[in-house]
């Protein structure tokens, strides 16, 4: 690749990752609004169950560890990308994907058992806030997994191109960011809910 082209790619990388970072900051504010709502409504149980009645800490801990590990493997994938090691890259992305899917499965089964027990979002303001906050995070995870599938597809088809490199960089930011948000969901919703 010629030098001007390389400089252009570098600038494109910088511009895109800055833009994506700023988007993540705006997403933080979105989550902050949901957190604030949860904090205001967490005691409004309207005769339904309270946080300590329904949350199971071991399950939340499992989810946390899975997501943390997937954040770590995602980092390893980005490291493999730096060495242009396609095979390692795909392996680590695959591990990240499987961990992401298991996280989502556990979350959905938690939702499912709550709804079956009659504790859906319709039961109280507390449950509305809980489902929306955790569900929004889950929705982000779903989008991330879909994105990852597309990236792996492109990797198989076109190999490591500057474009897919940029996409992976952004995906890495997204995935680490989702892990960060989850730390606060784990702490504020689950730990503090059970502790209070």
């Amino acid at each position: 690749m010629s030098t001007p082209r390389l400089i252009e790619q570098k600038f494109l990388d910088y511009k895109t990752s800055s833009g994506f970072w700023l988007y993540l900051m705006t997403d933080c504010v979105l989550f902050a609004s949901l957190f604030a709502t949860y904090a205001v409504l967490h005691a409004a149980i309207a005769g339904g169950p309270s946080a300590s009645d329904i949350f199971e800490l071991p399950m939340a801990l499992t989810e946390t560890i899975i997501l943390l590990t997937s954040s770590f493997t995602c980092g390893l994938a980005l490291l493999a990308l730096r060495h242009n090691n396609l095979k390692q890259l795909i392996v680590w992305l695959g591990v990240t994907y499987i961990l992401g899917v298991s996280f989502l499965t556990i979350e959905l089964s938690e939702f499912g058992s709550l709804i079956q027990a009659g504790h859906s979002w319709q039961q109280s303001a507390f449950l509305s806030a809980f489902f929306t906050l955790v569900g929004t995070h889950g929705l982000h995870i779903t989008v991330g997994l879909l994105w990852l599938l597309v990236i792996v597809g492109v990797l198989f088809k076109r190999g490591i191109t500057p474009k897919v490199k940029r996409q992976l960089m952004l995906f890495g930011l997204f995935w680490h960011f989702l892990d960060l948000v989850w730390i606060f969901i784990f702490t504020v919703v689950y730990l503090m809910g059970v502790a209070a």
Binding site: S18, W21, L22, M25, T26, C28, V29, A32, S33, F35, A36, A39, V40, A44, A46, L57, L61, T64, I65, L68, T69, S71, F72, G75, L76, L79, R82, H83, L173, H176, F177, D179, L180, I183, F184, F186, T187, V188, L191, M192, V194, A195, A196
Partner: protein, 123 residues
């Protein structure tokens, strides 16, 4: 090539350290809650603090915030976001707490019923 390998090593160590530290912090918070070691407001403050520390760990070791070259766009935007976030969340909680306090700890529906009964009494 040697420099590149060095860089690789350093990043790998970063990830491993970040991962282990995050795991440790998560377990700490978990044990504090499930083992009933602390209680009340102290517990909430400590686990909140642990979450903040874990955030810093991940920002440094996973998102490499310290390595950013000037003008440090990410750091500045993160700082501004954090400031707004604290204002909005803390402000909302402060406002809503005082609202509830002034409503004598009633929810709006309880307040409705209360007002109606007072009105029926001829107030």
């Amino acid at each position: 090539m040697a420099r590149r390998d060095n860089d690789y090593q350093r990043t790998l160590i970063n990830y491993v350290v970040g991962f282990l530290a995050s795991l440790a912090l998560t377990f700490c918070a978990y044990v504090l809650v499930s083992g009933h070691i602390l209680g009340g407001i102290t517990l909430l403050l400590v686990i909140g603090g642990l979450a903040l520390v874990q955030m810093l760990v991940q920002l440094l070791f996973f998102l490499h915030m310290a390595d950013e070259s000037r003008p440090r766009f990410r750091l500045v935007s993160f700082g501004f976001m954090a400031m707004i976030l604290v204002i909005v969340v803390a402000g909302s909680l402060w406002i809503m707490y005082h609202l509830n306090y002034n409503m004598m700890g009633m929810s709006p529906s309880q307040k409705d019923t209360y007002m109606t009964t007072q009105k029926d009494k001829g107030f």
